[in-house]
Amino acid sequence: MNHVVVSTDLCKACRLCVEACPKHCLELGSAINALGHQAVRFDSQECTACGMCFYVCPEPGTLTVMKGTA
């Protein structure tokens, strides 16, 4: 299934992906990561793997968008 893998320790919790996702697949979590931020989490069945979150995210490696099952 389409989904977004979050490298939690690389997230600065800017929220841009949360706002960008047309399907509202992302939200900020409550756990605090190594950088001291409440990193984003992915929790949804709706993801279309459009990549909007990936492109608005200013960090190179925080989000990886997966298409299909593998």
Binding site: A49, P58, P60
Partner: protein, 470 residues
Amino acid sequence: MVKHAKPKGFYDVFERKSQDFPAGETTHYCPGCGHGTVHKLIAEALVDMGLQDRTIFLSPVGCAVFGYYYFDTGNIQCAHGRAPAVGTGVARSLDDAVVISYQGDGDLAGIGTAEIVHAANRNENMAVFFVNNAIYGMTGGQMAPTTLLGQSTTTSPLGRKSEREGGPIHMAEVMSALEGPIYIERCTLSSPAGVMKTRKAVRKALTNQSEKRGFSFVEILSPCPVGWKMTPVQSRSWMASSMESVFPVKRFRDEEAAPKGNGRLPFLDDGALRDLVGAVANEVPTKVSTLSQDLGVKIAGFGGQGVMSAGILLANAAIHEGLHTTWLPSYGPEMRGGKANASVVLSSDAVGSPVVDVPQALLAMNGPSLDAFENHVVPGGLVMVNSSLISRKVERRDVRVFEAPVSDLAAEAGFLKGANIVMLALFALESGVIGIQTLKEIIPKSMKNKDLVEINLRLVDVAEEFHGRE
């Protein structure tokens, strides 16, 4: 299947010099900063387009100063505002390079205004990504040339006011006033759609660059949440509501341009170079003279007395004799009528420095020249004095002095302007450094105005007669 992942245009791990920021996988940018997004778009495009190994990424001074921590490409970190000048050098010396000049608004529109305007005007082969966040981010949010009217910054706490600080500078519009650039577009990161349009513009500029079509300028309106004292999400709405009405987001120019050359001059061999600069000695030297030591000659007078052309004649005569030589002109602030002197060095070997601080010979065409240089002549040196204009005697007792009224001699022959030739011919005769015959051969070749050849040759005869009488 991976659809979108960290582009390979980035290093896997970001090594850093600073102890405070150990190597890691995050950037040094603040949360929500636009620089990271633009970096990502560029890194992705370089890999997709197969340009990574050809790329020289020029990072600015500003928050993006550490571009070389991130981009797995060639990297140069440039002095503040000077990236377009560095890029000019790179583009002109490396034919295959993809040159990216990445600059902030303080860097490009403030301290580097001259560099960007002239690189654009020359249509230099480079892609410029101008990240405009309307502020000096790195130094703590000071007013930039791009700061909006009314916007408060640490140095405009009451808000920018045009009467006080002028208005925001519109760089894409400034670029549009120039004929050079082939592609100019302003984009914005205020929304996901804006980011995707920026992605297209980045690729367009890089396509132009990989095909060497000329100068591309992409201005990217970009948030600085920390400097603006907003959250990243607020900063995006402020861009849409305030920044974009001041800086219209649009394509200003997109020209179909053919690939342009690298701007280098053609290779010129020694002969072609001599022809080009009008040097005369473009044949094999007639003989090979040697000098026991290098000889520095200072020819000095006021502008219009022909001290420069006498120097060139001397240097050309030296080449004709198989010597090495240099000629170095020095003018006063006024090109004509002021003080002028020429330094000529003659040597049996390559000349180390063209500067003559302590001349072996001084050819003084007027009083001020004798006053200025008499004391610099080496002991045992030769001082030649134009006694038509210099009434005083040489004071030094440790130099050889030769006086001749060269202005009068030239005037009597009907050509006062040829006093320099009389002086030079007398120097040849008195010093023996160059043959008088050499001088006679050089004059017809070096005179641009052929009507003057005859009179100048006659002045050499006048000098010979005078020297014979002395």
